[in-house]
Symmetry: C2
Subunit: 473 residues, 2 copies
């Protein structure tokens, strides 16, 4: 499929020649993503510098039936930001729109363009003694537009929620080129349908988010991180219940990790050491943040571990005694996925189940996976407090990587079958994109898919807005 | 407008004759609401006993073009639940669907029919040592379906959010009679468009909510309530900032009240006394809840008042020393609206502005109101921490009530004009319904109204679902 040069010239004229890339070499990194799982084709990448330019692009696209794929940090994991293969999708990159428009520490809001890097938002908040709590592995390169479009989660969801909870208002360019100004700064506003939350998580299929009002929070003054060795996922769940009751919203992290994850990280990741003397089947990383005083966090973490020991839930534990130690514990958790790479192929799942069902799900899933792939090494870890597990499976030792990865869909079906049986989600964090689009259609009711298609058609009648992502046109 | 008896009989057959009311006397309280502001007409009220019966009703309504008005506790304040005047809207009451389907204190979820009374949900949560935080003046009679349909807020929004934040999943009967089963129990689920939040706050115009999965929370163990006399709204805002930084999510209430509100309540409401020795222009009611220990709340409240005194923000203060005293302080705040009744007519506004703009807005609005209605008594109070003020205005002493109330729209225009200038909302909590429908259309951009109409049409092509509420057909 090709677009004629005259039309490309018209698009280029909107942003100026320097901001319209057509060379294959310039586009190479943008038609694919980090892992190379998706490779699309595109005749052009546009870098508009303002909402008005985005609007002009969408207007022209709408008039000429040209498909547009919005892209920000290009760190998405489901191919939502990648142009389709064999088509002529134009990539619309928001990277030049990277201005923090306003910051109000009294109202606790920050207003920024969609192209601002997440870490920049965190820094800007810190400068006015506030916290923007969204935190992800890719925070140094992912951008707010993508965070919003995927309703990003990360490690602080337990206490602060995901992107839907962290956003008060949006500016969106619609597929027609019209601009919706929904840049409200209000915590309470019951005036009509919730358009904001419809655009958030829509993965760029309903419009192009160009600006957002984000919520800020007071910075906690007390922070404690503990690492506990546990016998079972049942014990982990019981310990989480105790932590949740004791700490309430001060419980800012409760991550579950398996022994094999500790082995992988200590073996492959620089500077990671097993903090406990002897091995344990499971581990919990517990993060507590308090706003009134450092002592409250200290009292809490000691009380929790004491309760855990007394109830026989905690076998051994350490409390980080410095910021460096706290960071080292988090570093272990955050490098768990990377530590699987040297172990060969890994089949991944980004799932959630109601947290009361985690122990049963983990046991059933491991049994089913091992029955299908004897010797496979399940390295399932993640945000226990949210019911969100990164259910990763490393290949058997010595197995052929390609052969193992060829069973991706077969293994997905086994794991997702059990997830659905438990009332869970096949995409807790990463979204649908291209990766899970057909699977979503297969597992959702006809009426739900139909409602989604009706919304898509109502917003994008020409079908030009990131087509074939989330749902098929 | 009339519906023929044969059609009414077909509707009645779905629920059985005992659950299909046609007598005018039986319908009298259902075609109007408490204050009698809206009076509609209806040939029939149906009380289905199951989701399937609701679906059958909607299917028949869809086939015959019959308008349906969902109703639960009938406590709404904008006429959203009232049938239209001069039409033949059938009322669909969810009151018989009042079963708590499931409660899981480990996963912290409660699943209940839309007809369950809010206070029953609170009680059921308490029985398993959990908190359902939504709390409203009408909690003894309002029902979950209405709370969801209006995205209810109340006094605990500051810490726990409004109904959108408190709901994980929904079951909805669509205008066509199809059932959408979205009864998910997951905190993280990024699988497609956010249908849930579209139905929440849609005031019954997109479908009939029949069941919901609600979030539960650990019950706090420490609770402190303080009442502080302040010189100005500027000081109130500064004190709120201190409270928010110090207490973080443990700050579960920060209510602003004017002197006149304390005068009205002490004069007219049984058992309310001024807790402070001398009068102050403004007051803050501060509510702190902690999960780790009672001492933490105690330490916090003392530290906050100390900081407030030192900074010259707090002129005088009391801390409730018993549960009864804490309740008495809240009782004053909660009866503030009722205490205006004996003072004559009251023109009300349910508005929000970004909290940093509250002092300027309050000053400007009072000046503008007094310029238009000399002698009017502004009694503006509410959830300062959410930027949500119930901007009520009592008539001048000795004025004619009817004459004063005849200026309702004129005064609304003055106040709402300033609200919009401050980037605020003309309906922070109560919704749009009939009351603010035309005003919403006037203040919103064409593109926003158009998007709302496109959604309405996509979900309800026959236009039978609570027509002419929120937006005109």
């Amino acid at each position: 499929m090709v677009i004629d040069t005259a039309l490309l010239d018209r698009f280029a004229a909107i942003v100026g020649p320097d901001n319209a890339l057509r060379d294959e070499a310039d586009l190479a990194l943008r038609v694919t993503e980090d892992r190379g799982l998706y490779r699309g084709t595109s005749p052009m990448l546009l870098k508009p510098g303002s909402t008005q330019e985005v609007a002009a692009i969408m207007k022209l696209a709408s008039e000429t039936g040209t498909a547009i794929v919005p892209q920000t940090g290009n760190t998405g994991l489901v191919g939502g930001q990648t142009p389709r293969a064999g088509k002529a999708d134009i990539i619309l990159s928001l990277e030049r729109m990277n201005r923090i428009r306003d910051i109000d520490p009294v109202a606790n809001v920050l207003v920024c363009d969609a192209g601002v890097i997440l870490a920049e938002v965190q820094r800007a908040a810190e400068e006015v003694n506030r916290l923007f709590p969204l935190s992800l592995g890719s925070e140094g390169s992912c951008r707010i537009g993508g965070n919003l479009s995927t309703n990003a989660g990360g490690v602080a969801v337990l206490a602060y929620g995901n992107m839907r909870q962290l956003c008060l208002g949006l500016e969106v360019v619609l597929p027609t080129g019209e601009i919706w100004d929904g840049l409200r700064r209000l915590k309470k506003d019951n005036t009509g349908y919730d358009l904001r939350d419809l655009f958030i998580g829509a993965e760029g299929t309903l419009g192009v988010i160009t600006c957002a009002v984000l919520k800020l929070f007071p910075r906690p003054v007390g922070h404690q991180v503990a690492f506990a060795g546990l016998n079972s996922t049942e014990d982990a769940l019981k310990l989480f219940e105790k932590a949740s009751s004791l700490c309430g919203p001060a419980l800012t992290g409760f991550e579950l990790m398996p022994r094999i994850g500790v082995e992988f990280t200590t073996k492959h990741i620089d500077g990671v050491r097993d903090p406990l003397e002897s091995p344990h089947p499971w581990y919990a990383l517990i993060d507590i943040s308090t706003s009134d005083s450092a002592e409250t966090a200290e009292t809490m973490v000691h009380a929790l571990l004491e309760q855990g020991f007394e109830a026989g839930l905690v076998q051994d534990a350490v409390i980080a005694s410095s910021v460096a130690q706290a960071q080292a514990l988090w570093h272990m958790r955050e490098s768990m996925s990377a530590s699987q790479k040297p172990e060969g192929g890994s089949i991944k799942h980004d799932i959630s189940v109601p947290i009361s069902k985690i122990p049963a799900f983990m046991a059933e899933a491991e049994q089913a996976v091992l029955a299908a792939v004897p010797g496979a090494r399940v390295c399932a870890f993640g945000h226990l407090g949210d019911g969100n597990i990164h259910y990763n499976i490393s290949q058997p030792v010595g197995a052929d990587k390609a052969e193992f990865l060829a069973r991706w869909h077969e293994v997905n079906e086994i794991v997702h079958g059990l997830v659905l049986k438990a009332g869970g989600s096949i995409s807790a964090e990463h979204g649908i994109g291209q990766l899970k689009r057909d699977e979503l259609a297969a597992i959702r009711s006809d009426i739900e898919m139909d409602l989604m298609r009706r919304i898509k058609h109502a917003f994008d009648p020409a079908g030009i807005m990131n087509p074939d992502k989330v749902i098929r046109a």
